[in-house]
Symmetry: C3
Subunit: 134 residues, 3 copies
């Protein structure tokens, strides 16, 4: 099977590290590209370092740039929820990583992170797909 959908519990916070899931999916698949896709309009996928403060730096930047106030025309959900709807446009809904011999070629400091500042929904889906190059 070359494509799978995972269900994630994001109640632990606004950033979830999905690197282990990405590696597990690629194992045994040979050479190609892996695509991680987030089918939600208020969450995003990024590659960045985690564990040395940068993940929180990103959340701080987003809070400054997309204040959770009443400026948004989108008015459903919690106060400031309109901000969440700009995340996919600014950060992106998918990430593509080369794979060689079943191993995604992430750099030493790259992790796959789901950014999800929308606390109204703690059940998220992630689709992983593999495309062979050979």
């Amino acid at each position: 099977m070359e494509t799978v959908e995972l269900v994630l519990d994001t109640s632990g916070g606004s950033i979830s590290d999905l690197t282990a899931e990405l590696r597990r999916f690629c194992r045994g698949r040979g050479d190609g590209l892996v695509n991680a896709y987030c089918p939600h309009a208020t969450a995003a996928l990024v590659l960045m370092e985690t564990g040395a403060g940068s993940d929180q730096d990103l959340l701080d930047w987003l809070r400054d740039q997309l204040p959770r106030d009443d400026r948004y025309r989108h008015r459903h959900g919690s106060a400031g929820h309109g901000a969440d709807h700009l995340l996919p446009a600014l950060l992106g809904s998918s990430v593509t990583v080369p794979v060689v011999a079943g191993e995604p070629l992430l750099g030493t400091w790259q992790s796959l992170l789901l950014v999800d500042t929308n606390s109204d929904n703690n059940r998220r889906r992630l689709r992983l797909s593999f495309l062979p190059t050979t």
Copy 2:
């Protein structure tokens, strides 16, 4: 044919919904990934919700973050046109979506939007390509 180029008339506004075109292209193609690509240096492709205010929220955010004034070194075209040239870097020129049984797996609230704040050019091109996973 696994890749096609569409010509779009964007005189209707700064955001064009291309979701129907994406679905039509995928129909009958089985499993894979579809890539939508925008070959312009002053327009971008994003996945986000439309119809509930968020598309206008994005344009407001861009106007705040990329003011259409004379701060830009790029000086061709209309006043503030330098701002348009930063759109592809900030938002991205392509979008990749998994496809199963000829259906792109967009989330319920995800639409494919062309963001094009450059009113000097109302004829835009969009390339759609399909990569089979099986």
Copy 3:
């Protein structure tokens, strides 16, 4: 060989034009998609116009939006280096371009640029991968 890694010397500045490398890699490969991937946590890949001021406009925008001061929790490296770690999230680590008859279908004004504001590291890697559509 459908995937290669290049080693780049980025001592020349914060933006490196990799368009020639992208074209060279695609030559003779037929139809498909080419993926350029940056395995670094403090650099990004974008498609944009270069040579008419927009590349410097992007660096100016980044300096305004991600000031190189002590606001970041990430404190390794030079002053303000925490800013570099947000680049991949905001701009993206990879770019995908359709290829027809061995030619990447970049628009007239699109170039592939590596954005790397981290002067602590002048040796960067770039991976290019080709996926056939037929």
